[in-house]
Amino acid sequence: MVDFGGWDMPVQYPAGTIEEHLRTRTRSGLFDVSHMGEIDVRGSDAIPFVNRITSNDVTKLVDGQAQYSALTTPIGTVIDDLLVYRLAADHLLLVVNAGTTDKDWEWISSKKSNESVQLQNVSADYCQLALQGPDALPILQQLTDLKLADIKYYHFTHGVVDGVESIVSRTGYTGEDGFEVYAAPDKAVQLWKKMLDAGKFGSETGVLPCGLAARNTLRLEASMALYEHEIDETTTLLEANLGWITKLDKGNFIGREALAKQKEAGIKKKLVGFEVTERGIARDNQDVILDGETIGRVTSGSPAPYLKKNIGFAYVPIEFSTVGQEIKIDVRGRLVGAQIVKTPFYKRAR
């Protein structure tokens, strides 16, 4: 068990990280992600308010739709990445990272002006279980009358799961199909056990409970950013390859001006994916070396259990950011060869 944003969480369950990772890719994995924070935004100005503090376009959402977005600073860097759920035209739910929930809450609260918005930190009102992988749908379907197949990717619905009022969202952080179920925290154990039972935990192809380590390797293979690694208050959305959630034309939002300027001038550094081409494993915070000079830093580096490669993300100067560029990673004093590759590293067949 490790401390994670103030939560006591398992790095891995007895099956081990590799097995958990592979099972999620091929069958299903269950993650207790109750640590995630939730902030409730209500009122007639809920949409314009959130649209002003996040980078993606909240006005594009319909009821029952979720959106990946970012809370931005005035210089276009990232306070946090988040999911914005539209429950109704006057009701949004922001799902944020555990370690940043308090910071986000203060930031969001401080941005409220005379808009008609009520904010509430409801993190303690929800548990969250993520059932991920190709078998996630048939497993969860055993516990609910909701027609899960009708929930589109990045959409959600209210409903009853095993007798428990829940929000069932077709989202995840693994690169697989799957669902995230939000419910009252005192129902977490019941839902956890029922999902394991329905998923035949214990059988060779059954669901496996997965820890933080597998959550990290799965998201890394799927090339999803992790806060304080790929994104933080020192890197802008454009540098982090998050131009796709940066809607400069949607109207004003915090950081828009800086991001528009940066887009016009061109970014100087960029987040790239790399594959280690020699023996060795790149790890977080190691230096990227080119011709003896440190040119960048690894933000996440790890073995990729499904791809069976050693991969990572790093920030490098834009002139050395093209696919095919050879670089070296300083692995505890040993220079190990790597090559910039296209991302995502892994994309599931649909």
């Binding site: 891995q12 990280t17 023996r279 060795g280 494993i281 790890s302 073995p303």
Partner: protein, 130 residues
């Protein structure tokens, strides 16, 4: 319960030593491999390199973490377990056998006497996991 063979010497860094004449075979314990999880990479020195007692001679990596490994005895590496290059998982499946790491010609074979016995190591790991 972790397996702790009677005939080996143990360190508090979770290495084991098997003495064969003036040579020592070194690896990591069952307790250590279990705490690390799936070993995906083992970095070993070259034959001929010399190490002082308790010096780091390489590293063992799981998906999540890198752990250094230390030689409890001083000496010159006479052989390394090359097969761990392709099959690092042997450290998990057979930590006291095929998962051995290096063979050292000890410069002071008395050093093993200050290491833990199997019983002492078992007590030590119990205390550590509590």
């Amino acid at each position: 319960m972790a397996n702790v063979p009677e005939d080996l010497h143990y360190s508090k860094d979770h290495e084991w030593v098997r003495v064969e004449g003036d040579q020592a075979i070194i690896g990591i314990t069952d307790f250590a491999q279990n705490s690390l999880g799936d070993v995906v990479y083992v970095e070993l020195p070259k034959a001929g390199e010399e190490f002082a007692a308790n010096e780091s001679f390489g590293s063992v990596e799981s998906v999540k973490a890198v752990s250094e490994v230390f030689t409890p005895v001083a000496g010159e590496v006479v052989k390394i377990n090359e097969s761990l290059g392709d099959e690092p998982e042997k450290v998990n499946s057979d930590p006291y056998g095929e998962g051995w790491m290096i063979r050292v010609r000890m410069s002071n074979s008395g050093e093993v006497d200050s290491m833990l016995t199997a019983a002492e190591y078992e007590d030590f790991t119990k205390a550590e996991s509590e």
